[in-house]
């Protein structure tokens, strides 16, 4: 069964440096790093000590609030250092990797004969629960609440992101095992969005409802799918999982191993040879960035895509959730009369002496310059052009800023994640940090309402 959804409001940002569809193995990293800050609002409680020998899939730490939620090592090796920051918060868990991985055996299981509780407990015990996020709040799912539906986006529209049609090639068996498992965790549907004209591996799978999405970004955001199919109401919970994490979960059921391998798109205009690599969670990004080669020295490395990824150092590590690493030029330079001269080399949704509307298919090389300073909200109507959800974007942002919980709730805060506000942030004339505002708003609601 499939349904068609067309997204008209949005913006495709075309950038130079798309990864060519060739796959290489990233050189094995010496160290792998897990950063607990990636698991939003989770306070880690360590289960191992420095110097411990680990197998891939061994528990590193668990959530202080819900001890059932465990986080495991992506590789086998020795726990080298536990780095701590201010107030002794654990910032990094560094693992010195063995040459070859050995895996903890979680047992081969047939999902078809398992019931909901067995599947849930297995995912919790093996560390795969960390891949399941919930809305409201866009945090790791609470295992005690059954979701009304599960949403998976298998459509790529964000600029320079990994193309699922490529990264999921040949993963049908793993995906089928994972979606079958998830279909038992909800009374509702497992909704999957695929591109209108793409040949997604999901189309041949059972136990899911496929939605054909077309149109502009953010058609590929899972938040867009949720809003168009079955929006979250007060008191309801939905879960989201990304397809590559489904592969890891499927592999777990089929082989008993926690194999944290992913196909990563290394893209961006600063790279000589942008292409796909296979790498494990926590790997040193420099191993494949230097393999591809850099065009310039002064670069921004991003875990994820340019719209909602996280800035990391060149010596940083692949994020727990990322399947894309983007490298673009830094923009820390002045531009003479940059605010009033005609602009041909940047993207804009207006036509205020900006000329990107003349060449809608041109690929741009954008840098990290903000193109202006932070201001109060002034311009109206521009967000709505790129925001397909049935929500008033500026009003909800303002409600978050003045921390009015009732208004945030009334305007639809339960439905959104920071990622949904990436495009409005991109076009914002006042250069307001929309995603940060939404994240803080969600955290406040989580704290006050829970």
């Amino acid at each position: 069964m499939s349904k068609d959804i067309k997204i008209k409001k949005g913006l495709n940002i075309r950038l130079k440096g798309e990864a060519s569809k060739t796959l290489s193995n990233a050189p094995r990293s010496k160290t792998y790093v897990i950063r607990p800050s990636e698991f939003h609002l989770i306070t880690p409680k360590l289960d191992v000590k420095e110097g411990a020998k680990l197998q891939a899939g061994d528990v590193l730490f668990y959530s202080k609030i819900n001890e059932a939620i465990k986080f495991v090592s992506p590789v086998s090796g020795t726990l080298l250092t536990i780095k701590r920051g201010a107030k002794r918060i654990i910032t990094e868990i560094i693992i010195e990797a063995d040459q070859l991985d050995t895996y903890r055996d979680n047992g081969v299981l047939n999902v078809n004969s398992m019931n909901s509780d067995e599947i849930k407990n297995h995912l919790l015990a093996t560390g795969c629960w960390a891949f399941i996020k919930q809305r409201p709040y866009d945090v790791i799912a609470n295992p005690d609440v059954k979701p009304k539906a599960i949403f998976i986006s298998a459509l790529t529209t964000a600029p320079l992101s990994a193309d699922y049609d490529f990264t999921l090639l040949g993963k049908e068996k793993e995906l089928q095992a994972a979606v079958t498992a998830f279909s038992k965790l909800t009374d509702g549907k497992v909704n999957v969005s695929v591109g209108e004209n793409s040949k997604s591996v999901f189309e041949g799978l059972n136990d899911i409802t496929v939605h054909k999405m077309s149109g502009v970004h953010p058609a590929g955001n899972v938040g867009t799918l949720i809003n168009k199919v079955d929006p979250v109401n007060k008191g309801e919970v939905v879960w989201t999982v990304t397809p590559q994490d489904l592969v890891i979960i499927g592999t777990l059921f089929l082989t008993g191993k926690f194999n944290a391998k992913r196909v990563i798109a290394l893209s961006g205009s600063s790279l000589k040879n942008p292409k796909y690599y296979t790498a494990k969670i926590g790997a040193e990004v420099s191993t494949f960035i230097y393999d591809s080669g850099l065009n310039e020295e002064n670069v921004r490395v991003i875990n994820g895509n340019v719209l909602s990824g996280e800035k990391i150092a060149l010596k940083g590590h692949l994020g727990y959730y990322s399947d894309t690493v983007t490298v673009i030029p830094e923009g820390d330079d002045y531009e003479f009369f940059g605010w009033n001269k005609p602009v041909f080399d940047k993207i804009s949704t207006s036509r205020a002496l900006t000329f990107s509307w003349l060449q809608p298919n041109k690929e741009y090389s954008l840098n990290t310059n903000t193109n202006g300073e932070y201001r109060a909200f002034v311009i109206t109507g521009s967000y709505e052009e790129v925001f397909p959800l049935d929500i008033y974007p500026m009003q909800i942002l303002k409600a978050c800023k003045y921390e009015d919980l009732d208004e945030m709730e009334a305007l639809g805060m339960y439905e959104v994640a920071p990622e949904d506000f990436a495009l409005t942030e991109f076009v914002c004339v006042s250069k307001q940090p929309h995603q940060e505002i939404i994240r803080k708003g969600l955290d406040l609601m989580y704290k006050e309402i829970g």
Partner: protein, 407 residues
């Protein structure tokens, strides 16, 4: 790049000091800053507030330049020194003589408006420690265009200080104000110095002076700078034809007379997506609607031609758009994003009511036959209310969705 690196080191020197905002305002005027994104979106679109405001100024420049020529033209015409020109494109209009008179009168208005307004902005920025915001770039250009040509500069200066402080800064600066600052300035002038803001002498350079000379006993011919609205309000006959009104060869506030150039500006603003086409169109629809209602009243014979409202009510409805300042207000004033409705649906209602009320005040106001600025200020106050009800629609939809589920 000597200048670039010198300015950069100066910026570092000023960082954290009281004067930093003042320096940064000048620095960012020359150079787009070297600021980069942190987290969130790592790339940003090309537009910033300076570019947006600059676009509005570009849209206003034709009106300003035309206003200078027209000021000279109306001056010499009233003195009887030149013949009426044959049209907008005639060489007898675009003369140096006209331009010099116009520049001599209009440029001081521009300089005082920007000088005083930006000084207040800089003071507030330094005191409050925030960056100088760009809102006044547009306000400062609008103000000279909406005042009578001979307004004394000290009055303008006081009004600008009032408008910027009371109209904007006390609310928190650009983006926070409730009333359009340019119209606040005009309203201040209108209510504080009515003799300089209305009547049939203030719209032509030299007319007031000439009057005073006649009163002093000099044997000169009186000149009139009566506007078309003034003539209609007194049920007088009109000395101009529609094309004069459209092209702008008529007396009036500095920048509002040429409907042709305002339409060009409107098209530019709509094309660049800086001005809201919803507000512009709905304001005009509102004005036409009210005009039609008044025409209907006259046609129905409810008032006779001796009635004091007859002249203005009897104006064919479409002519309301080419007389007075309704077009200028719709394009440049009502569209101010901060004080207008912020939702797309709200913009339709907001604009429509501005048009409706503008023409209503125009016809019924006994003291002064124009109501656009009052109508816009009034709707500025109601814009948040309009938005509230529009947003409640969305909120109700969300609540109904929940109710359907739980039932």
């Amino acid at each position: 790049m000597g200048l670039k690196s010198n300015l950069h080191s100066l910026k570092e020197k000023f960082k954290g000091t009281k004067m930093a905002p003042a320096f940064n305002a000048l620095h960012t005027f020359l150079y787009l800053p070297n600021e980069t994104t942190h987290n969130g979106t790592h790339i940003k679109a090309a537009d910033d507030l300076k570019r947006t405001m600059n676009t509005v100024i570009i849209a206003l420049l034709p009106c300003l330049i035309y206003g200078m020529f027209n000021a000279g033209y109306q001056h010499y015409l009233a003195l009887g020194e030149i013949e009426a020109t044959s049209g907008f494109f005639a060489a007898t209009f675009w003369t140096w003589d006209n331009l010099i008179v116009g520049m001599w009168q209009v440029l001081p208005l521009v300089i005082v408006s920007y000088g005083v307004g930006l000084t207040v902005e800089f003071l507030f920025a330094v005191i409050k420690g925030h960056e100088v915001e760009e809102g006044y770039l547009v306000t400062g250009m609008l103000v000279p265009l909406i005042v009578p040509i001979d307004i004394p500069l000290w009055m303008l200066a006081i009004a600008v200080i009032f408008g910027v402080v009371i109209g904007k800064e006390i609310f928190g600066g650009t983006g926070m104000n409730i009333l359009n600052p340019a119209l606040t300035i005009r309203a201040f002038l209108f209510f504080s110095y009515p003799t300089w803001m209305s009547g049939d002498k203030v719209w032509v350079h030299g007319a007031v002076e000439r009057d005073q000379m006649i009163a002093a006993g000099q044997g000169l011919d009186a000149i009139s700078g009566e506007t078309i609205l003034g003539a209609y309000a007194q049920n007088n006959s009109i000395a101009y034809d529609y094309w004069d009104m459209f092209w702008g060869l008529i007396p009036g506030s500095v920048g509002e007379t040429s409907k042709f150039l305002i339409i060009i500006g409107a098209l530019f603003l709509i094309f660049t997506k800086v001005g809201s086409w919803r507000i512009i169109i709905s304001t005009l629809i509102g004005a036409l609607t009210m005009g039609l209602i008044f025409n209907g009243v006259v046609d129905a014979g409810w008032i006779g031609d001796s009635n004091k409202f007859y002249g203005l009510m009897n104006v064919p409805f479409w002519q309301h758009l080419i007389i007075g300042s309704i077009l200028f207000g719709a394009v440049y004033m009502a569209t101010d994003p901060v004080t207008a409705s912020q939702t797309n649906k709200g913009k339709w209602i907001y604009g429509f009511l501005i048009g409706l009320i503008s023409i209503m005040i125009r016809v019924f106001n006994p003291a002064y036959p124009e109501g656009v600025f009052l109508a816009i200020l009034l709707m500025n106050v109601f814009a948040p209310t309009i938005d509230h009800y529009v947003i409640q629609g969305n909120v109700k939809r969300r609540m109904n969705r929940l109710k359907v589920k739980t039932n």
